[in-house]
Symmetry: C2
Subunit: 410 residues, 2 copies
């Protein structure tokens, strides 16, 4: 493992100066090969599914591939190929009175470790984004998907090598042993950044056992606040979409906040629609006065990412109370207001301290692909380095190059 | 302490939306009050000096204030006032095919802890930069400067409060007890970022005892490489300045690399000049063949930040060997090439993996003030979030504000 990391570090210097043309050629070949070898991937995926058929349905679904999902992975690689290369961008530049020319130039981070669970598309998305941004990747997937991940890695790394990408630019840790993970976490001399994707337990474990910087992709306790000035039909469509379209993901709504002024007209139709879709409602006392037969929300509910068909509902006194609730109970991921009021739209978007704040749209758009970033290597709930969907730019850092002609400091 | 951090978090939401006008008014009043109360500061500083007269001369010098240094601190606050407010900047914005308008907006980080040793100007620089960038600051200085730091804090926070800055926006931990530091390190619910400035021991201690993100300001093992195509007189002036002008700081040169092609013509005059300035030279075997009476550099020397009048000298075969040496032994802080060759200038600046890479200038310019950033809150040797001199922009993060008109995800 140390040898692998050492070689990764060495390869990072080579990869950093590789031309966009070679990287894009490789990405397109990788996309082609992924589709060409889809049968092999599906065979390996079947092994994983058979070995894990005791998993909950939602997790089993995340693990399962089909032709359509492989095509999406391939499409994502093509999209990344078509995006501008972030490496070498002159972010800004200026001259000093003494004649020094200071250039702030975008460069790759170096060696990036991605530690993830179940979803096999993370393998191809991470490999593609790291390659395009000039970073060496070290992948460590979960045991449920080990056969699928290995197959994807083999196809993509072979295509990369044939296209002229340095050996050791793409690395896969072919064991799901915890000891191997612990060892990786200790290699701060060779690894510049860790991006864990998965349950809170995994992320906390990693953060507690490494000196390598970690960008955390924590849970999404996402809110929608229906303002008293909302278009109620629009609000119902947005809320329904945010909760029901994919309840198992981090950008799904977990808590609905309603201004007291429209609660009585808004809630009955909304709650019926949720109930028809088998959503369990947990309401605050005021909600339960309007809708009788729903469960009571406990204090812990307001903090909870259900990742399923459960929704907490609270009637609030004002937009201020909504903002305070979100900043206190939320996870600073994605939160929305539905309103036709200009002042409230600005107030909410200014004061809610989250990575993504929406006005009149579903929180489900918090996603690299939906943002137009090709794909994503995670959604940061941290404030340091990157926030929200992370893609090419978030996988870079910068350096200063200073051009002088003999300047010395007095 | 928890109470202080809790109030700091609450104040951060208020401070984030404060107008530039109020912040600038406060900064200017802070600058004025600092000069107006310079006598009080000097009295407190005298106490610190008397209590620490056993310290090495270099450290005692860093601790000592006079009218001139207080004026520089004041000037720095005025400069920060005159710079553009980073908060609210629209970093980029675009529209999606579905009509969503995505805005990436610069916002304060929130609550920033600065943990530092000896130099009292860190107190005023940090307070000024955090205020202007909309961040609540929590300062924890070293015991050597406790009286001076407290005096500066009192003057600045009073001036801030009078100017309309929220209470709890500027915080000072008035104890140098380690227990208090440990407690602060545990407050990840309230503190968004820690910036330690000081010895490697302090920084490693902090990194090992907190889950709060840390931006490290490690040592500076800075190099100057004199290329075979260098203007030798320019090279000698740059090298002399980089080593001798302020040997105790992180941007001073610790290792001189010389291309073998010009070593014989370059070194004798250069080494004599260093020796006249009382610089101890530790050379590689080839250097010692050219200059007889110098000490031998050991392997450990190439890794060492001397912070004093010692210099390691190595003759290299090629620019490639110089780059490899720097990336291996250096600290990725600041490194320079002296050359008249265009290709070598580009090659060196592309391949050296450091925060600041200089062509034909002294590494001593790695400094927020010299870069035109007003002042600095540190020089990051990390690659994540910020690299090199950190000032206003590096004290911000961003959020996405997404404006829609009813979009839902299909």
């Amino acid at each position: 493992m140390r040898e692998l990391a050492k070689k990764a570090r060495a390869a990072s210097y080579e990869l950093a100066s590789l031309s966009s043309a070679i990287k894009n050629k490789a990405l397109i070949m990788m996309a082609e090969q992924l589709e060409a070898h889809s049968r092999e991937i599906l065979i390996e995926n079947k092994k994983d599914i058979n070995a894990n058929n005791g998993l909950p349905k939602a997790l089993l679904d995340r693990l399962t591939l089909d032709q359509g999902r492989i095509r999406l992975m391939s499409l994502s690689l093509r999209q990344v190929a078509s995006l501008a290369d972030p490496v070498g961008e002159l972010i800004k530049g200026w001259a000093r009175p003494n004649g020094l020319r200071i250039h702030k130039v975008r460069v790759p981070i170096g060696v990036v470790g991605i530690i993830y669970e179940s979803r096999p598309n993370v393998t191809s998305d991470s490999i593609g984004l790291c390659l395009k941004s000039g970073n060496v990747s070290i992948l460590r997937g979960g045991k449920e998907a080990i056969n699928t991940n290995r197959a994807i890695y083999k196809i993509l790394s072979t295509a990369a090598r044939i296209s002229g990408i340095p050996l050791n630019a793409i690395n896969f840790i072919d064991t799901t042993d915890r000891k191997a993970l612990r060892f990786l976490l200790g290699l701060s001399a060779y690894v510049d950044l860790l991006i864990p994707r998965g349950g809170e337990g995994l992320i906390r474990f990693i953060q507690g056992h490494t000196k390598i910087p970690v960008i955390k992709n924590y849970k999404g306790v996402c809110h929608t606040f229906v303002d008293e000035h909302a278009d109620l039909n629009m609000a119902r469509d947005i809320c329904f979409n945010a909760k029901v379209s994919s309840p198992g993901v981090c950008n799904a709504m977990e808590t609905l906040l309603i201004h007291k002024g429209i609660a009585k007209s808004f809630l009955p139709i909304m709650i019926k629609r949720f109930k028809d879709a088998k959503v369990e409602i947990r309401g605050c006392p005021k909600t339960r006065k309007i809708i009788a037969d729903i469960n009571k929300a406990k204090e812990a509910d307001w903090y909870t990412e259900y990742l399923g068909l459960i929704l907490s509902v609270k009637v609030v006194e004002s937009i201020d109370q909504a903002v305070t609730h979100i900043n206190h109970y939320g996870s600073h991921h994605s939160d929305a207001i539905v309103t036709e009021n200009y002042e409230n739209a600005l107030k909410f978007s200014d004061r809610v301290d989250s990575a993504c704040v929406y006005v009149n749209a579903s929180t489900r758009f918090s996603d690299g692909y939906e943002f137009g970033l090709g794909s994503e290597i995670g959604i940061s709930t941290d404030k340091i380095h990157a926030r929200g969907p992370m893609a090419l730019e978030e996988l870079t850092t910068y350096k200063y190059i200073i051009f002088g002609n003999g300047q010395i400091r007095t």
